[in-house]
């Protein structure tokens, strides 16, 4: 905790007093599916500082402690392990199906990858660099998320209109909860209590109580919501057909605002300090920043071709 405070303090000192903002802060690792690369976007400098070639149409990404990024390639059927500091691929793990959704265990031991067609969730031991277990989930599992304590894994089983809740320790499915039509992205709140699933076909976000395994409610969004971020007591969904980010109140589940963004937004994540929401626009090849408080668009940053960044893609560099 002290570390975090010291870091925040230093960030403030650096950004406000010393004016060295870009040197500290954050990077976004953006999977450019059409471009077969990962763009490393410096969020302080607001431009791409490195491009890492990744074969096989990279799409999904998970970032646990920021030192390593795990990227799924849908056509290549592999997960690339990228050392974020050196921008190098240090390992590649074959998946026996098309991998898309991926999540990293916060303790650093495992990653979980959804195989889109079989459909199974694969548990990969990072030390062994290999799949050590797999379990059946619902049809077309898309998004994968973990509770911050790493005890529960959630998959959005798109074609079964449900989420699966999996005990990470025993690696068994505890239950399923029906949500809206075709959930794609799923996000767990920082307390590990709720899951938010973006229902592409019903244009809603479903809110699930993970402990009770019940649907708490839903909220309307713009057209074709793909993924959800949470910041300052609000939810933010990327609405692909709408070209919008829908903002809603997490307590009341009432819509707050709809923000026009780029074309076909998909990946979305909140910065570590909770102040910004980053939106990845697949068609227009840009990452946009939204101020989580004022809901104003604060930056538009070009990246490579066909960016998806489906999952967690932000890291702090200090």
């Amino acid at each position: 905790m002290i570390g975090a405070q010291a870091k925040a303090c230093f960030t403030w000192l650096c950004a406000v007093v010393l004016g060295c903002g870009p040197a500290v802060g954050a990077e976004a690792f953006i999977t450019d599916q059409s471009g077969d690369e990962v763009s490393v976007l410096d969020l302080g400098l607001k431009h791409v500082v490195a491009r890492i070639p990744v074969s096989g149409k990279p799409a999904g990404i998970a970032m646990a402690d920021g030192r390593t990024a795990y990227v799924t390639s849908t056509e290549g059927k592999h997960v690339s392990v990228i050392d974020t500091a050196s921008r190098k691929i240090v390992a590649q793990i074959a998946i026996p199906d098309t991998p898309l959704g991926i999540a990293a265990d916060p303790a650093g031991g495992f990653i979980y990858v959804a195989g889109f067609y079989q459909p199974r969730l694969y548990k990969i031991d990072l030390k062994a660099g290999a799949i050590v277990a797999s379990i059946e989930v619902g049809a077309s599992p898309s998004g994968v998320a973990l509770t911050p304590d790493g005890t529960l894994i959630v998959t959005a089983d798109r074609d079964d209109d449900q989420i699966s809740i999996i005990d990470a320790k025993t690696f068994t499915r505890k239950g399923t909860v029906k949500v809206g039509a075709h959930p794609f992205g799923v996000t767990v709140d920082p307390r590990g209590e709720r899951a938010y699933a973006a229902n592409v076909e019903s244009n809603t976000i479903s809110v699930v109580d993970l402990k009770a395994e019940t649907l708490l409610g839903s909220v309307a969004t713009g057209k074709r919501p793909y993924a959800v971020a949470l910041a300052k007591g609000r939810g933010f969904s990327t609405d692909q057909y709408g070209g919008t980010v829908s903002v809603f109140d997490l307590a009341t589940l009432k819509p707050v605002k709809r923000i026009s963004v780029g074309d076909y937004p998909e990946g979305i994540e909140t910065s570590a300090d909770g102040n910004s929401v980053y939106v990845v626009n697949w068609f227009s090849n840009e990452v946009w920043a939204i101020d989580a408080e004022t809901l104003a668009v604060t930056a538009k940053m070009p990246v490579g071709d066909g960016p998806r960044a489906f999952g967690t893609f932000l890291r702090e560099t200090l």
């Binding site: 059409s34 098309t98 067609y117 074609d159």
Partner: protein, 183 residues
């Protein structure tokens, strides 16, 4: 004549028996996108007037008939294109902005033998260009025709991109011809 147009518009493929795993919204792993544009020597308002009606696709060669209902109202309007060879494409409007001279629609139903795509959506926009001219931009986002791993060549990503690109070129080139032929 009609047959020739149809062949150039449609992708005519000799099909092996394909075991498609799922109907509905299933799609391949990697979505494709294309943008095609054309500059037309006519004011934007005039060009927009030629495509303004969602239920009039007469400007796209190979379309024999357009039927439908719901006017230009997003989430209400639907249309069915009947092609020269008799095949049909069902589409629905999801965005319409007369001010921006732009509308967006998706394909609800099409045989992959007609257009080898899945989960297709599209936006057409008229933009002002220099000298009072117009630029028409037609964009599409779609998955390939074969929704599972390891597609046959006629239903892979390249086939989808090629088919949609050819379709857009045909429509845009014809629009240009409509306005500039008389000059």
């Amino acid at each position: 004549m009609a047959g020739r147009i149809e062949k150039s518009l449609l992708i005519v493929i000799a099909f092996a028996a394909l075991a498609l795993p799922q109907a509905g919204w299933a799609h391949g792993p990697s979505r494709q996108k294309i943008t095609e544009t054309i500059e037309i020597d006519a004011p934007p308002a005039k060009v927009w007037a030629a495509i303004v009606d969602f239920h009039d696709m007469s400007w796209l060669p190979g379309v024999a008939k357009t039927t439908g209902e719901g006017g230009n109202e997003p989430d209400v309007a639907t249309r069915q294109l009947t092609l020269d060879g008799g095949a049909t494409i069902d589409e629905s409007l999801y965005k319409y902005d007369a001010g921006a001279m732009s509308y967006s629609y998706r394909i609800d139903k099409v045989d992959v033998k007609v257009l080898p795509v899945n989960n297709y959506s599209s936006t057409i926009t008229v933009l002002p260009a220099e000298g009072g001219k117009s630029t028409v931009e037609w964009r599409g986002a779609f998955y390939r025709g074969y929704p599972n791993n390891d597609p046959p060549p006629e239903l892979n990503d390249d086939a989808a991109i090629k088919a949609v690109t050819a379709l857009y070129r045909k429509g845009l080139d014809n629009l240009k011809k409509k306005f500039e032929a008389s000059k």
